[in-house]
Point group: C2
Chain length 134, copies 2
DNA sequence: ATAACAATTGAACAATTATTCAATTGTTGG
DNA sequence: CCAACAATTGAATAATTGTTCAATTGTTAT
């Protein structure tokens, strides 16, 4: 949770004045204001963070990559990743909620696939990043 | 942690046979084998996941975006995000370890900036994804 | 040298979250 | 209708992790 530092959270230390000055002397006020103006709105940032976070779990990462190759059912994915159907199902729900995957019912089986091509691009861009240097 | 499901982890339920059959009947063995062959190696997956995970914290997301606009010192960032220098410093370390940001010393101040352009691309691709539908 | 201060670091705490197990839902075939 | 089974769901547990506070490091100016 974001908490303001400038407000007196050092009241009890007895050296309030020094502490407060310290908070601001090195700040380039003009620069900070300029960047602040150009920042994306808070909720956009939250959604970006959430998207990355969802892609940032190894199990989900693998599910996404597998689905970029082929449409698969829950059982296929569980077998592929050597984990339980339950674990896969839980993670698929997260991916569904973020609209990263879509599904198609066929009898009692449900086939999952990627929701759109952006996710593929994101993935490839990330791959390029990690494969690039050294 | 990945744990095999096929091995008898239902031994005590007394209905082992049924359970085991259930694990495999719906699996398209051929398809799974084909996907498995085309999957990236385990350590690549881990690094991709880790990269996304690091980008997936709101504080870090904002730091990254801010640095894509301008080179900033720790104090600037803390002011911009209304948080403590300590919190920012901790997160910058994470970003440094992942080689997502680089820094430059000038006196007792340290200026941070993005390490390469890939991160910008990743970010823009993600923005396009969240801004696209509805 | 010493005071001032930007930045880092470590430990502790609180919160989030991935997996497991068990139970349930919904669909198909006998 | 009932048995079989693919998939989902909820609760509990264990592990990870972000922030805070306090202390420390390293640099500059007096």
């Amino acid at each position: 949770m974001a908490v303001s530092t400038k407000t007196g959270n050092r009241e009890r230390s007895g050296r309030r004045r020094t502490a407060e000055i310290c908070e601001t002397t090195c700040v380039d006020v003009r620069k900070v204001a300029s960047v602040k103006k150009r920042m994306k709105p808070e909720d956009s940032m939250q959604r970006i963070a959430e998207t990355f976070r969802v892609l940032g779990d190894p199990t989900r990462t693998k599910i996404i990559y597998a689905l970029s190759l082929e449409e698969l059912c829950v059982c296929d994915i569980a077998t592929l990743l050597t984990t339980t159907r339950s674990a896969v199902s839980h993670q698929l729900r997260v991916l569904r909620n973020m609209r990263l995957v879509k599904y198609r019912k066929e009898g009692k089986m449900i086939f999952y696939s990627l929701d759109d091509e952006h996710i593929n691009h994101l993935f490839n861009e990330c791959l390029r990043h990690i494969e690039e240097d050294e």
